[in-house]
């Protein structure tokens, strides 16, 4: 595990160089600089990993070579089931093939390159055995509740939707499921990815993955129904209550309601009113708001309060009306994860530090604690990085090869907040399982 995450980093850094290399043939300085830097950083990683890890007797030597990588070449040519024995081999292959995008797949029971050799030997010869638990959240899934952007664009007005998703899911993964090694990255274009790397997460079966995805899933995106969040039961599950009070309601009332001007236009508030099953309330509010023609900056505040007080005052009469307030907030804020990505071990996901082929933005890690202040539009792009390297001059000091660039901070964060704790845990787990094995061997000998 550790090995290939490092590998992934090498590879991505590698790729930056490569892409640029092929695009800027004319500028030899650029590319040779980048290439040098790449070499340096991957050899750093290599030492870093092998330094303590390769010598441990419990290490599984074939782990990396059983991991699937997938390359997307120019013209959308996909090369699936690539695998590498070590970081060097990967580096060579990336240089040779110049992929625009690299995806990481599961670790299989056997080297995926050799999968055909096992095809005849029965159905369970070639199967995924380990895989990080991953989540993919795309802003385009929220297109019915945001008015600032369309399609796959993302801006600071709709970024809070992503911040909500990160906060809600991160809290559930840590507090409910007890995971610790969670990496959040901006995908480079329209959303965020989450990699849960705890060893118990990597060993989850498809069924267990599905159960987690379902646990987190509230949104029902049917085109034909106005109600998109289904909340049943007389009270909500503690997880939903916590998400609502800690995250959703604040973001809705303080940010999204205003930034998306949800109550200022008839077409928008009509959609909200559509969630309310009581005709008379809908008509009352609608008529009132429509008559109110003078423009005001506090439409949102006022109308939302009117709606709330009306729904909550009639609480005793019609069951489920009170729930409407929550349903509206859930509909407009609750995370909409791509379920299929999380449910199956063999789903591919773009590697961190990859450059998004369409935007040129680097897929950078971010701190879930500070995801509010993250600005997707300010993420370093390939050309910016090159410029920085060129003007600032890259440092010979390999430890901080990227420190002069806008990527420096991301890499620093990745190492200190994610990679090092993860490696530490892995080493401890490996040692304890090794010791247990040694111990049990001893016992069985005594016996």
């Amino acid at each position: 595990m550790e090995k290939d995450l490092n590998g992934a980093v090498d590879m991505q850094i590698d790729e930056c160089g490569q892409n640029k290399h092929s695009r800027n043939q004319e500028d030899q300085d650029f590319s040779s600089n980048i290439l040098k830097c790449t070499m340096e950083s991957s050899s750093l990683m290599q030492t870093f990993v092998d330094g303590y890890h390769g010598k441990h007797p419990a290490q599984d030597q074939s782990y990396l070579s059983r991991r699937e990588f997938s390359f997307t070449l120019e013209n959308d040519i996909y090369l699936r089931f690539q695998s590498f024995k070590n970081a060097n081999e990967m580096e060579q292959s990336v240089k040779e093939k110049c992929p625009h995008k690299i995806d990481i797949g599961p670790v299989y029971s056997i080297d995926p390159v050799k999968r055909h050799a096992y095809a005849q030997s029965g159905s369970n010869g070639f199967a995924p055995v380990e895989r990080e638990l991953v989540f993919d959240i795309d802003i385009s899934e929220y297109n019915d509740v945001r008015y600032c952007c369309t399609g796959s664009d993302i801006c600071l007005d709709c970024w809070p939707l992503m911040a909500i998703a990160i906060k809600v899911i991160d809290a559930a993964l840590r507090d409910d499921f007890g995971f610790n090694h969670i990496l959040w990255v901006y995908s480079g274009r329209r959303g965020v990815h989450c990699w849960v790397c705890d060893s118990k997460a990597r060993r989850l079966s498809n069924e267990q993955r599905s159960s987690i995805a379902d646990y987190l899933h509230v949104y029902k995106g049917s085109e034909n129904s106005s109600k998109k969040a289904s909340l049943t039961g007389s009270v909500l599950h503690p997880f939903l209550v916590r998400s609502y009070t800690n995250v959703l309601i604040d973001y809705f009332e303080k940010k999204l309601m205003h930034s998306q001007k949800l109550f200022s236009y008839e077409e928008r508030y009509q959609k909200i009113l559509g969630v309310i099953p009581d005709e008379s309330i809908v008509t009352e509010l609608h008529d009132k708001w429509k008559a109110d023609r003078k423009s005001s900056s506090c439409f949102e505040e006022n109308r939302w309060n009117q709606l709330k007080s009306l729904l909550q005052s009639r609480k005793q009469k019609v069951q489920g009306l009170r729930r409407c307030v929550e349903e509206i907030v859930f509909t407009y804020t609750y995370p909409r994860i791509d379920m299929e990505v999380s449910k199956h071990m063999n789903h591919l996901l773009k590697a961190p530090f990859c450059v998004h082929p369409k935007t040129g933005r680097v897929c950078v890690p971010m701190d879930p604690q500070h995801c509010d202040s993250f600005d997707p539009t300010a993420v370093p792009t390939l050309s910016k990085l090159l410029e920085e390297l060129n003007t600032g001059g890259w440092k010979a000091d390999t430890e901080n090869g990227w420190s002069g660039t806008s990527l420096g901070e991301s890499i620093q964060f990745f190492r200190s907040s994610f990679l090092q704790p993860l490696l530490k845990t892995c080493r401890e787990e490996m040692e304890s399982s090794y010791n247990a094995k040694v111990q049990s061997n001893k016992n069985s000998l005594n016996w």
């Binding site: 409910d176 007890g178 267990q208 159960s211 646990y215 599950h237």
Partner: protein, 448 residues
């Protein structure tokens, strides 16, 4: 397993439910070997039918109970447990041999276990949990107090009331995926807080994973040694048993079921008149029929004895492939129930007669009507030849068609297929069907 709030372990509590941990060391007569297995197969097959009809949990519980009681008794009460265990292990041998067989067996045995577990008393449920050596601890009082509010909240969110006496177990969330998926448990730091009445879920998932592993091992043993060693004795029995599952007419009880879903393909092939065969095949191929076709085939199927729940399952299975099950329930299920007199003005509609079918004017995309009248000559010839009509018989049929004697053409087809005369002539598709059944399986007491 440690149970804190019920320290007393009742030594005398015993359970009839076996976990099938190891193969029995018993002498079994070869006859019993086979008979027990067939009896258990009846139970599993019944469960499979029940599941495919979409029965609800409480209906399934009743069904499993009945199946178990009617098939797994034994004259000698002391032998009942042995019969259970022996038949289970025989079927393991039978169903270990391919991935598909394993999957089916695993799924049916797990379902069987689930419902048998549910009806056990709480004491024996606890004994079973102990037998699984589940390493879970019941919540201590202090722990319980710490999360009490959340536990109450969860119970209320799923519409249950938890009392102070409810025992909770702390279980790694991975063990109870069903409960996690439906948010039926409280989760904290990777542990699910499972109430005593939810433990079935844990025990069943253990049962399932144990059996799944055991089946793979059995398969290995079977291919490496048993098959060869038992070549003259068990191997033929085992091989015959697995094909008897695939056979068309297994464990059919004629007194109650008229026709059952699993036979329908075979019946369509042998005993449906051409008009119904055509609709049936189109439906299987296109997963859709327009209204006229649905009425003509649907009422015919009702007439031959397909019960409402089977009819719903049958149409759902096809239509949901095309329009999705949600749309099926919304738009099509109504007409199926309507045909059975369960909706609207609640008339029990009768199947169409030949006269009515011949009088239809089907249009683009329609498949109903009478093929002898509405098909082009080429299409009719092609259709008849798939029924095995050829040579002289084909000429005779086509001759009647040209002279507009459609029912006579159908009668000739019937006679050619069944090699038997049909003096009354065909004037109703359901009559065609029942006469065909009488000829093909004379022992059947079909009254239709």
């Amino acid at each position: 397993m440690e149970i804190i709030r019920s320290q007393k372990k009742n030594e005398t509590t015993s359970t009839n439910l076996s976990l099938y941990r190891s193969a029995p060391v018993l002498e079994v007569r070869l006859d019993d070997f086979e008979l027990y297995a067939i009896d258990r197969l009846r139970v599993l097959k019944g469960i499979s039918d029940g599941l495919s009809r979409g029965k609800k949990p409480d209906e399934m519980e009743k069904l499993v109970n009945e199946l178990w009681r009617s098939n797994m008794r034994h004259l000698d009460a002391s032998q009942i447990t042995n019969k259970d265990i022996i038949s289970h292990f025989v079927l393991r041998l039978v169903y270990c041999r391919t991935e598909e067989l394993r999957k089916w067996f695993l799924s049916m045995e797990t379902t069987l276990f689930r419902y048998r577990f549910r009806i056990e008393s709480p004491e024996s449920q606890r004994v079973l949990m102990a037998e699984f050596q589940l390493p879970y601890k019941a919540l201590s009082h202090v722990e319980y107090e710490g999360v009490k509010d959340k536990l109450v909240q969860v119970s209320r969110s799923i519409g249950q009331t938890s009392t102070v006496d409810t025992l909770f177990f702390k279980v790694p969330f991975q063990e109870v995926p069903e409960l996690v998926a439906n948010r039926r448990v409280f989760l904290l730091k990777g542990n699910a807080y499972v109430a005593m009445n939810q433990v079935a879920s844990i025990v069943v998932s253990h049962f399932r994973s144990n059996l799944s592993k055991a089946l793979v091992l059995t398969n290995r043993k079977w291919t490496s040694t048993i098959r060869e060693q038992e070549k003259g004795r068990l191997t033929p029995i085992v091989e015959a048993l697995s094909s008897s599952y695939l056979g068309p007419d297994y464990s059919q009880s004629r007194e109650i079921a008229d026709i059952s879903l699993k036979d329908i393909d075979q019946l369509a092939n042998s005993s449906f008149p051409l008009c119904m065969r055509h609709l049936f095949n189109r439906l299987r191929e296109d997963h859709h029929l327009k209204h006229g076709g649905r009425m003509q085939l649907g009422l015919f199927l009702k007439g031959v004895g397909l019960r409402l729940e089977d009819a719903l399952a049958f149409w759902r299975a096809e239509f949901s492939q095309k329009v999705g099950s949600e749309r099926f329930e919304k738009e099509y299920a109504y007409t199926v129930r309507h045909n059975y007199g369960k909706e609207g003005k609640r008339t029990d509609y009768t199947p169409y007669s030949c006269q009515k079918i011949i009088s239809f004017t089907p249009s683009v995309g329609d498949h109903h009507g009478c093929p002898y009248r509405h098909f082009s000559e080429d299409n009719l010839r092609a259709a008849l030849s798939t029924m095995g009509i050829g040579g002289r018989a084909m000429d005779d049929v086509m001759d009647k068609v040209r002279n507009h004697h459609y029912q006579l053409a159908c009668t000739l087809t019937f006679e050619a297929i069944h090699s038997s005369s049909c003096d009354t002539g065909i004037n109703h598709p359901n009559q065609y069907f029942s006469q065909s059944r009488k000829l093909l399986s004379p022992k059947d007491q079909l009254s239709t």
